[in-house]
Amino acid sequence: MILPALIGVLLLGGFVAWFSGRLHPGAPHWLAVITLAVEAILLIVPCSAAKQADGLSSAWFSDVYMPWIPRFGIGFHLAMDGLSLLLITLTVLLGFMAISSSWTEIKHRQGFFFFNLLACLAGTVGVFLALDLFLFFFFWELMIIPMYFLISIWGHENRVYAGMKFFIFTQVSSLLMLLAIVALALIYHRNTGIYSFDYFDLIDMTLRPDTAFWLMLGFFIAFTVKLPALPFHTWLPDAHTQAPTGGSVILAGVMLKTGAYGLLRFVTPLFPDAAHQFAPVAMTLGAISVLYGAVMAFAQSDLKRLIAYTSISHMGFILLGIFSWNLLALQGSVITMLAHGISASALFMIAGALQERLHSREMGTMGGLWPLLPKLSAVTLLFALASLGLPGLGNFIGEFLVLQGAFGVDNVLTSVASLVLILSPVYALGMMQKAFYGPRSQHYSLADFSRREWLSLGLLVLTTAWLGLSPQGVLNVSAPAMQSAIAMVR
C-alpha cells in the first residue's frame, strides 16, 4: 500500500495545510514541510526494494491494483520501477525546495498556496506511478489545475494571460491524448472482446501501421507540449516567468519531466514501429529545440525568461535521447532529467531570491552584484556552469551520454545538436556578466542568503556535484527499467 500512500499523504497534507492557514499564517509552511518529510520516509521502502531488482524480469518492484470502473476495464493500477523511483525522489527533493523558496515570498492565502503546491506534487507522483492509461490521464489533468491556480493567483504582472495559455495548451493537447487512449482501448476490445485500459494488456497489441501512427501522434503531441519542444513550446516562457518562485521550481523541475516520462513509458513501448518511423522527425525537433532554446536564452533581458528558454534547450536533449532508443541515450536522458531538474530549480530559486530583494527581474537593472551578494553570486555561478554542461556537474553526464547514444543513430543531427556546447556558455556566462560582474548600476544595501536559502541551495549544490562526479548509483537504479523498456520493444 506504499504506492497509494505516496499520493495520499501529499493530498492529505495539502488539505491539512489549507485548513491550518485559518488558524495561524505560519502553520501551512511547517505542515507542508512535515508532509514532505513523511513522504521522504515513505520513499525509503521502495528504495530498499530497488536494490533487489535486477535485470529484465523484475524491473517493476512494486505493484498495486484495484478495480475502479469495471465497465470499461479501468483499474486503479499503480506500479514503480527504477525510473519512477528516481523521478519521485526528484519530486520530493524539489518539493522541499519549492516550500523553502516560497517561505517569505507568499504573503497572503498561504494555506491555499501550500494546498495547491502539494496537490500539484500529488498529481505528478500519480503520473509517475499510474499504469492504467485512464488513471494516467486522470493524474495528468489533475496536475494542471493546482498549477493554474498557483500561476494565476500568486503570479506576477502578466499572470492571468500566462496561466490561461498554460491551461489551454496543455488541456487541448491532453484531449488529443485522451482520444488516442480511447481509440487504443476500443481497438483492443475489437481484437479481444474485453475492455481494458491497462498498460500491460495494451502493449502487446499489434496495430495497423497507419492507425498506430495517428495514435502515436496523439500521445506525442500531448507529451511534446509538456516537454516542451518546438513548435509547442510557446506557453513555457510566459508560464515560467509569471509563476511565483515555488510554482516555477515545480513547473521546471518536475512537471516538464512528466512529458519526458510519458514519451519513455508510453510512446515507444506502445507504438514501436510508428515511433521508429517517426524518430527522425522527433530527433530533429529535439536538436532544433536545443539550439533554438540556447539562442533565444541569450536574447533575453528578463532573468526568469532566460532560464525558461534554457529549459527548452535542455529538454531538447532529452527528446533527442529518447528517440535514439539505445541504452546509453536513454540513461543519458534520465540523468539529464534529474540534473536539469536540479539546476533549473536552483536557478529559479536564485531568480526568485533576487526578485524578492531587488523587486525586478530585468538584468539591465542588475550589475555588479557580486560584492553585495557573494554567497548568492557564487551559487549562481556554479549553476550557470552546470547549465552549460561543465564536467563535474550533473548536466554534463547527461548531455555526454545522450550525444554518445544519439551519434550511432544519426550522426549529423548529433553534430548539429552538439553545437550547443558553444552556444550555452554564451548565454550562461552572458547572464553572469550582466547581472553579477561589471559596474554597479544602482546603489543597494541587500541582504545575502539567509540560513534557509543557504541550506536549500547548498543541498542542491551537493546533489548536482554528486550526480556529476558519481552518477553510477543513479544509473544502476534506472538501468533495469531502461533495459526492460528496450527489450519490450524488440
Binding site: 475502479w68 470502473i69 469495471p70 465497465r71 470499461f72 497572503h108 492565502r109 485512464f134 490521464f137 486522470f138 489533468e141 489533475l142 489545475i145 493554474y148 491556480f149 494565476s152 493567483i153 492571468v160 496561466g163 490561461m164 491551461f167 489551454i168 488541456q171 487541448v172 484531449l175 488529443l176 485522451l178 482520444l179 480511447v182 481509440a183 482501448a185 476500443l186
Partner: protein
C-alpha cells in the same frame, strides 16, 4: 385500463394530486412555505411510489405511455431535479414580495409534463407532455411580475414555443398522413417495411426535428436561449436548462430507436451539422460574455451539441451504448447545471440578479465555500477529471470513437478547448484579490444544503462512477 397500468402510472398521478392539493391550499390560505412544503412532500412521495413500481416495469399504460425502466429512471431524475429547483426557488422567492404561492404549483405541472415526455411512446402523449411543460414554463419564466426583463423573456419563449409546436404538429401530421400510425413502434414498422425513403415521412421527421431543436436550443434554433435564461429567475433558468431539455432529449432518443431512424442517413447528416454548429457556436458565442447567466446559457447549448454527438454515434455502435451514455451524461449535466445556477440564485438579491461578472469578483475571499462550489461546477462543465463532467465527456469520446465520427470528435475537442477559456475567466475573476468583506451574508440553509449535496454527488460520480454506470447499464 387495468389496475396494473394504474399502479404503473402512480408517480404521475401523485404529482398531479399534489398540484391539486396545492391549489386547494392556496385557496384556503396563502402561505409560501406551506405551498413549497406540500410541493416538496408530493415530489418525495412520488419518488417513493416510483421506487415501489420499479419492479412492475415495463408496463404499457395505454398506447400513450410506456413506463419501462428507461422512463422510470428519467422520471426519477426529473423529479429529483424538480425537488432541487424547488429548494432553490424557496430561498430565492422568500425574500421577494408578491404572491409566490403559485410557483410550486407550476413547477409540479411542469414536472408532470416532463414526466409524460419521458414515458411517451406515442405522438399524442409527446405533444401533450410538451405543451403541459411549455405552458407551465411560460408563467414560470415571467414569474417576478413587474420586471421588464422577465416579461420580455416570457413573451419570447411563448411566441417561439408556439411556432415550434406548430412545426411539430405539422411534422406529426405529415407522418400520420403517410403511415396512418401515431405509435412510435408502429411507425418504425412502417418505415422498415418500405424499401425507399418516403419523402413525406422524411419531411415530417425533419419538421419534428425543427420543433425539437427549438426546445433543445440547438443551433440554429438557439436564439431565444440567452435572453430567456437571463430574464428568468435563476432557479427557473436551472429548470429550463435541465428538466426541459433533458425530457425532450430522452424522448428524442426513444423516438429515434423506436422509429428506427438510424437508417435515415440524410437525417443523421443533418444532425451532425447541427451538432457541430451547436458545439462551436455555443462555445464561440460564450467567449465574449460578461453575463454569467448568458454564459451558462451558451454553455448549455454546447453541451446539448455534445450529447447529440452521442446520439449520432448510434449509427455505428449498438444502441445500448447510446442509452448508457445518455444515462450518465444527463444526470451529470443536471447536477452541474443546477449547481451552477444554484450559486447564481444564492448570490441574487431581490434588488438585482447576480448575473454580471462583477458580482463574482473576489468571491473566493468573500465567500469561499460558494466560490469553491461554483469552481467545481465550472470545471465539471469544462470536463476536467475528478468531476462527473469528465466521465460524461469520456463516454461521448468513447461512443464517437467507436462510431468513427472523427470530424465530430475534432469539433468536440475544439469546443472543449474554447470552453475552457470562458470557464477559466470566471474562475479568475472569482480569485481576484479583494479584501474580505465585513458584511455577513444572509444564511440560506436549504440552498446551502442542496449545493453541498450536489457538489458531493459531482465529485463522487467523478471519482467512483461505478454505481451510476451499473445502474444505467440495465436500462435498455
Amino acid at each position: 385500463m387495468n389496475s396494473n397500468q394504474l399502479v404503473a402510472l402512480a408517480p404521475l398521478i401523485t404529482v398531479t394530486a399534489t398540484a391539486i392539493v396545492i391549489m386547494i391550499a392556496i385557496a384556503v390560505r396563502r402561505n409560501f412555505m406551506l405551498s413549497c412544503a406540500i410541493g416538496a412532500g408530493g415530489i418525495i412521495i412520488s419518488l417513493f411510489v416510483l421506487a415501489a413500481t420499479w419492479q412492475e416495469s415495463p408496463v404499457q399504460a395505454t398506447f400513450l405511455l410506456r413506463l419501462d425502466k428507461y422512463a422510470l429512471f428519467y422520471i426519477a431524475l426529473i423529479l429529483a431535479a424538480g425537488l432541487a429547483v424547488l429548494g432553490f426557488c424557496y430561498d430565492y422567492f422568500t425574500k421577494r414580495r408578491g404572491e409566490n404561492e403559485e410557483l410550486p404549483l407550476l413547477l409540479l405541472t411542469a414536472l408532470l409534463g416532463a414526466s409524460v415526455l419521458a414515458g411517451s411512446s406515442h405522438f399524442a402523449s409527446f405533444f401533450l407532455g410538451l405543451e403541459i411543460l411549455s405552458i407551465s414554463l411560460f408563467v414560470l419564466i415571467g414569474y417576478p411580475l413587474n420586471q421588464a426583463r422577465a416579461q420580455e423573456a416570457a413573451i419570447k419563449y411563448l411566441i417561439l414555443s408556439g411556432v415550434s409546436s406548430a412545426f411539430l404538429l405539422m411534422g406529426m401530421a405529415l407522418i400520420y398522413a403517410q403511415c396512418g400510425e401515431l405509435y412510435f413502434n408502429a411507425i418504425g414498422g412502417y418505415i422498415n417495411s418500405r424499401q425507399d425513403m418516403n419523402p413525406m415521412v422524411l419531411s415530417g421527421t425533419l419538421l419534428i426535428v425543427i420543433g425539437l431543436g427549438f426546445k433543445l436550443s440547438l443551433v440554429p434554433f438557439h436564439l431565444w436561449t440567452p435572453d430567456v435564461y437571463e430574464g428568468a429567475p435563476a432557479p427557473v433558468s436551472a429548470f429550463i436548462a435541465t428538466v426541459s431539455k433533458g425530457a425532450v432529449f430522452v424522448l428524442l432518443l426513444r423516438f429515434f430507436i423506436g422509429t428506427d431512424s438510424y437508417s435515415y442517413t440524410p437525417l443523421l447528416n443533418v444532425f451532425s451539422v447541427v451538432a457541430v454548429l451547436s458545439i462551436l457556436g455555443g462555445n464561440l458565442l460564450a467567449l465574449l460574455q460578461n453575463n454569467v447567466k448568458r454564459l451558462l446559457a451558451y454553455s448549455s447549448i454546447s453541451h446539448m451539441g455534445y450529447l447529440l454527438v452521442a446520439l449520432i454515434a448510434g449509427r455505428g455502435i449498438s444502441s445500448v451504448w447510446v442509452v448508457e451514455s445518455f444515462g450518465f451524461y444527463l444526470p451529470a449535466y443536471f447536477i452541474m447545471t443546477i449547481g451552477a445556477f444554484g450559486v447564481v440564485s444564492v448570490l441574487s438579491t431581490p434588488e438585482e440578479e447576480a448575473d454580471d461578472l462583477s458580482f463574482y469578483r473576489g468571491l473566493f475571499w468573500r465567500r469561499p465555500w460558494l466560490a469553491a462550489v461554483f469552481t467545481l461546477m465550472l470545471l465539471s462543465l469544462a470536463g476536467i477529471p475528478l468531476t462527473a463532467g469528465f466521465i460524461a465527456k469520456f463516454y461521448i469520446f468513447t461512443n464517437a470513437a467507436d462510431g468513427r465520427l472523427w470530424g465530430l470528435l475534432s469539433a468536440v475537442i475544439a469546443g472543449s478547448g474554447l470552453g475552457l477559456y470562458y470557464y477559466l475567466r470566471v474562475i479568475v475573476v472569482m480569485s481576484t484579490n479583494v479584501d474580505a468583506g465585513a458584511v455577513k451574508p444572509v444564511q440560506q440553509w436549504i440552498s446551502t444544503a442542496l449545493l453541498t449535496a450536489l457538489t458531493v454527488l459531482l465529485i463522487w460520480l467523478g471519482v467512483y462512477p461505478s454505481l451510476l454506470v451499473n445502474a444505467v447499464q440495465s436500462l435498455s
